[in-house]
Amino acid sequence: MTSPIPTPTGRYPAGSAAFPHRGLTGLAGLAPWEILFLLDEAEQWVELNRSAHKRDEALAGLTIINAFFENSTRTLLSFEIAGKRLGADVVNMHAAQSSVKKGETLIDTAMTLNAMHADAIVIRHGSSGAVRLIADKVDCPVLNAGDGQHEHPTQGLLDALTIRKAKGENFAGLTVVICGDVLHSRVARSNIHCLTTLGADVRVCAPPSLMPAGIEAMKVTPYHDFDAALKGADVVMMLRLQQERMSGQFIPSPREYRHLYGLTLDRLALAAPDALVMHPGPMNRGVEIDSNVADLAGRSAITTQVEMGVAIRMACLDVLTRKARGVEGWA
């Protein structure tokens, strides 16, 4: 894949006006140029991460707390690596969600983190809106690493960067299919905001039991028939079947789900010949995606997504701490 480094001139305003937000709690409401700014900023970190000396000192001396109230391996790891590659001191806090979900504890935890003078706090929480609640109580920038079924903004950004790497700048000419458990997916929501803002044509596909009501209002076209949704698609983004989030039975069985919504080689053939295959991970191989599709060389971007994830998170940490660091044009 080629990685053209775009020239920022003229794409967005200079200095802090390019991203005039205190934190990143979601992609809803961001302007296209704000998203493009973050994508462009990430390009330099893609290069750095591919080099032998994967280290910058931009955030040296800063303390970043990763407060994860919900289990996570890859996102936590990605944020930790991102912070460390920028020279920051990164501390991880794992909180079993059961002990912090009730009472004042969540706010108390936020106040505690705040009192430790963190320079940025990265939060994952199982309840929609929890990150914004905390963001309102602390003095430093807050990054949402996933809140309930609401948003996962860095995932939306890294997916957009992955798509741009493979398909180029012109999002307006792309048809993207997001298939799977849309109802319970914060990844889907952030991707919908991001891709529609950038001008892509987004189709969402799910059985009715996993399709949220009123999704058309988010400027997407809903499908129940995966084959129909795939026709001519440039990007096929599969979502993980989140059985742990389901209260009640939403699908009869995983094998029936695969029968209707599993991405097989045969199904992939319905999409554009060079259609990109994506999955936010972790995958249920053999359920929503077959192994031979997930591992399809030249088509599957699943490991690229992980790679872009580190770069996007570095960009977000860099941009959001610029004001505090007194970077010219941002102080």
Binding site: E104, S127, S128, G129, A130, H150, R186, M218
Partner: protein, 410 residues
């Protein structure tokens, strides 16, 4: 409480059933209204100049979750029907008897008996014993009774006892763990949601069972176009079905939950703009009989949480009157109808001899300036907690003085 001095309130605008307010005087003796219209005060009377304010019946608030006197008195509420969902569930005569005494001397508390033991929706509670201990009606609590057989037995039994059954109309199977109404807003926010039809489903079953048993059934809140149509049709058939609502559902739609503000986390959840419009239509055409506060003060431990983890409910007692008078200003209803919704209809459902200015009724009076402007401020509420979705909103209508049984309480 000693017998109060006779009371004469003059120079007011009398709010009488079915009429425009008329200038006049009210006289009360031994806690009852003894003269309406003109007449001179007696020599020992406490004489109050209403200075042109409305002389209205004290509000009868059907279905509150806490006894919160300062908030009730601020809001002109002299009688509050207490929901059985208390720390100690009102499912025994002793609990009912205690609750019935808890407002004295300056507030009437009318306990609603728990329909089922521990409000679990399974076994009938001791309804007759609780009636005789002071329960004014029976309530299913915050939840719907899922089991149709239990609901059938409950309604037939209460029909025999002559007790109104106050129920919550949301099909629990459909709502599950939902905290919002299914639609664009819930989808954008990623909140667990359920179709608004959950209300109509529950209402349809309960109306059918009420007609079968001849029971008097009151839906504490009806908030959707579909369920209101069912209530309207049932009333047209002459059934004893009544419906209530709180100001939240005629003032707000689910757009208000947009910033995850937990003060808008209510049960039932806020609905679509169209359903809100349907509530206004039902208030205008008489389908809705009662406007109540649903007063449920909740502190930070219940509300300063992520939206779905927060408890539902709003502190509504202080804003009940002003928001209802807003409907009068907007031409949805007139003043007499406002007090029918706020006082006389709920009094009839509770079997209380109050809620209207009539000779021989209890002298629960509110002097109201219907135009006095004020700003709702959640930081400075009389209620034990300031969880109002109307924070910083300008409203009009304020209680100037309140009398319970002819005795001034605020």
């Amino acid at each position: 409480m000693s017998t109060p001095r006779p009371l004469t309130v003059f120079n007011g605008q009398l709010v009488l059933p079915g009429k425009r307010p008329v200038p006049g005087t009210v006289r009360c003796e031994n806690g009852l209204i003894t003269a309406i219209g003109g007449g001179d005060p007696g020599p020992d009377d406490l004489v109050i100049d209403a200075k042109g304010a409305l002389i209205a019946p004290g509000l009868v608030d059907l279905g509150v979750f806490a006894i919160d006197k300062p908030a009730f008195h601020f809001g002109g509420i002299t009688r509050a029907a207490l929901m059985p969902d208390q720390g100690v569930v009102l499912d025994k005569p002793s609990a009912v008897r205690f609750a019935a005494q808890s407002g004295k001397p300056d507030l009437w508390v009318h306990p609603l008996a728990a329909a089922t033991r521990d409000l679990a929706g399974a076994e009938l509670a001791e309804l007759a014993l609780m009636r005789d201990a002071g329960a004014k009606a029976v309530a299913t609590g915050r939840r719907w009774i899922a089991d149709s057989g239990t609901m059938h037995r409950l309604l037939s039994y209460c029909a025999m006892l002559g007790l109104v059954v106050v129920t919550h109309a949301e099909d629990g199977g459909l709502t599950g763990t939902a905290v919002a109404t299914a639609g664009e807003m819930a989808t954008r926010l990623g909140l667990p949601s359920a179709p608004a039809e959950a209300e109509a489903l529950a209402a349809a079953r309960d109306i059918a069972l009420a007609e079968l048993t001849g029971a008097r059934l009151h839906f504490r809140q009806v908030t959707t176009r579909a369920a209101l149509a069912l209530v309207r049709a049932a009333k047209a058939r002459g059934t004893a079905i009544t419906a209530g609502v709180t100001p939240a559902h005629f003032m707000l739609s689910d757009v208000s939950i947009g910033d995850f503000r937990t003060f808008t986390r209510l049960s039932p959840p806020l609905r679509s703009a169209d359903d809100r419009q349907a509530v206004l239509e039902a208030l205008a055409d008489g389908t809705i009989d009662v406007i109540a506060s649903g007063h449920d003060p909740r502190g930070p431990e219940d509300k300063r949480l992520p939206f779905a983890d927060a408890e539902p409910g709003m502190a509504g007692a202080e804003t009940l009157l002003a928001l209802t008078l807003g409907l009068v200003r907007d031409g949805v209803i007139d003043t007499a109808r406002a007090f029918e919704l706020l006082a006389s209809n709920p009094a009839v459902l509770l079997g209380a001899n109050a809620g209207r200015l009539e000779l021989g009724t209890e002298a629960d009076l509110a002097l109201v300036d219907p135009d006095k402007p004020w700003i709702v401020n959640s930081d400075k509420m009389a209620a034990t907690a300031g969880n109002t979705p109307f924070d910083r909103q300008g409203v009009q209508g304020r209680v100037l003085a309140l009398f319970k049984g002819g005795l001034q309480v605020s």
